[in-house]
Symmetry: C2
Subunit: 403 residues, 2 copies
């Protein structure tokens, strides 16, 4: 079963909005064996929408998102009514529902919302459990067309409750997709390392997905046992380079390891400014092992809160191996945890010198009787350097806990 995805909106074409809906939809569909074979983004003019619907009418299904809101640039319903030659009707009943919903949060319902109460004659509406814009569903020449809002949480609720169950029934085979996440090796070296394994598994297709923090290997196939055997060969070839699977981030992996070992963690951050704590606390239940963090953005905070020695700061500076270790030890002592991590560096764009350039980072680690720091030089922009640093710190924790 193959499907075309159409996302509508000038804001997507002009780059104002990053299209995260498309990725979410693609992922959900792969899981039920439906392949997105093309994804097209167009502007919000009725003619563009109609001609694009025509161009993909050879698919089994078409999902359109966006353009169902109440304002003048929301024209998807009109385009659907035109393409399917339909005459919609105003639903007094739904208008009443909408009015009641609005009165709960504001004193009046804008007239602009009236167009959201128009219902199709030849097609059906798709309920929206979390918002005012309902979707549309039509059948034509063996293809099912869905129109959904572009607001992510509304689109997701409607996909989950209506569209995915419908498509799952129509889809016959489920594709198995497994992702193996690696870090610490460039894409071409990784590809060479696993080349023989790739050749020995003709029923498994393998893709390399390079990202800021590592390269993911995605395996796709129809037979579970063949995917598994390929996966095991890759794992034994790659060893510790593999940090996780599928959607697992390093923060999940580290959390699971800490839980399993019954260890607690605290972090002291300078150049990452809270990002490491933020990533750790993105995991539900993280309060069981993550006790807290200190973002020490000044030397005073480093000394006062983390007991970094004034002498150290004067002798080797805030961005140094010694300071990173003292921060790790300091936060560990302060928050009484088994592990302490201390990060200090220069995220940029300013603040670099010849000896200590932008991107220079020290990560300190303290656990048991052992304290040490590692030095890195990253070459991204401020946000990229922050992110890479948080990733490398999480990887240091993972590798230590795996020993």
């Amino acid at each position: 079963m193959n499907l075309a995805l159409i996302t509508i909106g000038n804001e997507l074409l002009s780059g104002f909005t990053v299209d995260t809906n498309a990725a979410w939809i693609g992922k959900k569909l792969s899981k039920i064996g439906v392949q997105v074979s093309i994804h097209i983004t167009i502007d919000d003019r009725v003619e563009s929408i109609v001609s694009t619907l025509k161009s993909v009418s050879d698919k089994n299904a078409v999902i359109v998102t966006g353009g169902l809101g109440p304002t003048h640039d929301d024209v998807t319903s009109s385009a659907f009514f035109k393409y399917f030659d339909d005459t919609p009707q105003f639903s007094e009943e739904y208008w009443e529902v909408l009015t009641q919903r609005f009165l709960k949060i504001t004193s009046t319902i804008p007239d602009l919302n009236r167009n959201q109460a128009m219902i199709p004659t030849k097609g059906t509406t798709i309920p929206n459990p979390v918002g005012s814009a309902r979707g549309l569903q039509y059948e034509k020449d063996g293809c099912t067309y869905f129109s959904l809002p572009g607001v992510p949480n509304e689109m997701k609720a409607m996909m989950t409750e209506s569209v995915l169950p419908f498509l799952e029934k129509k889809s016959h085979h489920n594709l198995i997709v497994r992702t193996i996440r690696t870090t610490g090796i460039p894409e071409s070296a990784l590809a060479e390392k696993v080349d023989i394994i790739l050749r020995e598994h003709p029923d498994v297709s393998m893709a390399f997905l390079p990202q800021l923090i590592g390269v993911d290997i995605r395996l796709t196939g129809k037979i579970e046992s063949k995917i598994s055997s390929c996966q095991h060969e890759l794992e034994s070839e790659l060893g510790d380079l593999v940090f996780g699977y599928d959607n697992e981030g390093l923060e999940n992996v580290v959390g699971t390891l800490l839980l399993k070992k019954g260890l607690t963690l605290s972090v002291a951050e300078s150049c990452t400014g809270g990002l490491l704590a933020h990533r750790l606390t993105n995991i539900p239940g993280s309060s069981a092992y993550f006790k807290g963090g200190i973002t020490s953005y000044s030397n005073e905070a480093k000394m006062k809160l983390l007991q970094v020695e004034e002498d150290t700061l004067e002798r080797v500076g805030a961005v140094s191996s010694e300071t990173a270790i003292e921060m790790a030890e300091g936060v560990r002592k302060l928050l009484k945890t088994d592990i302490g991590v201390g990060i200090t560096g220069i995220a940029g764009p300013g603040g670099g010198t010849e000896i200590k350039p932008v991107g220079l980072v020290y990560i300190g680690f303290s656990m048991g009787e052992q304290s040490y720091a590692k030095k890195f030089i990253f070459s991204r922009d401020r946000k990229g350097n922050k992110y890479l640093t948080s990733q490398v710190a999480l990887n240091m924790i993972r590798l230590t806990l795996k020993k």
Copy 2:
């Protein structure tokens, strides 16, 4: 001048990777008056690429990203050579350059990289200042075609150094785009509020872009004075609902206000887990006003570091107005700043009760003689609740500083 953007990769269609390149490219192009009229994502098969190139050959320019890497699923060069009926040659010279570059970071260059040394006969190569895959550029029937790698920092460097300057010369008029960012009002109410202004400015096109944290209004037009007059009318109608312009986040706005007033800030976070500090420190130079943050993920940390009273925690609990205020006052005192913010709440999915449901958040604020807290109930998932909380906290700071 209109342009088609083609992004290549199964990982985009299956949602494994979010296509952030497209948004970046769209934004850069709008600034030089080039409109992306269609964006198509396809899989990495030569036939798909060739047929898609044909389908957009009526445009003035086509940018293709992805599929220039060294592995077996990188077939864009082959598709270009086929579409332009070109016979490429192996460049010993570039192979030598590549080899030298690899030897700097690893002991050997994988043979897989040889295909990156193939150069076109009918077209030209686009230099890649930060990676090994060079781009391709061809002219055919009045349309210029560019092929660039999909790795974001390589694509961006090549766009900036080669493609954008080339297109800017060919583009004749510059579109003016201005975005007015609002928070605290739903899209339809906003649209109704500004409806008359919209009608009175036929030369300015207005789009509403709802997002998690507010609605942006984007104005587009060709004449600066008309955009400005429309903008001023919107500003006086909307007042404090407007928090910034274009790419400005609330963290930028708050940073600028703090700098201007010479005030310093510290934050104590529980349910946001470091996100507020992370956002504040994403701004270069933030160390001038942001002194640090405490992520207190346990009651002990709240008492020990922030001097939250044990009695308060026992009487009204960690998620309460009182605790939020004591956290704000505590961090302010600890880090000796003019302003302290304290956040406590239940991000979910677990931890909620009937009286204190998931999404309940208190934000405490302390400045001068004044301390207070506000209560919110958010209804997103964990990450959404964290993000909304950080946004509302920043907005509280902004509104206080604007007074």
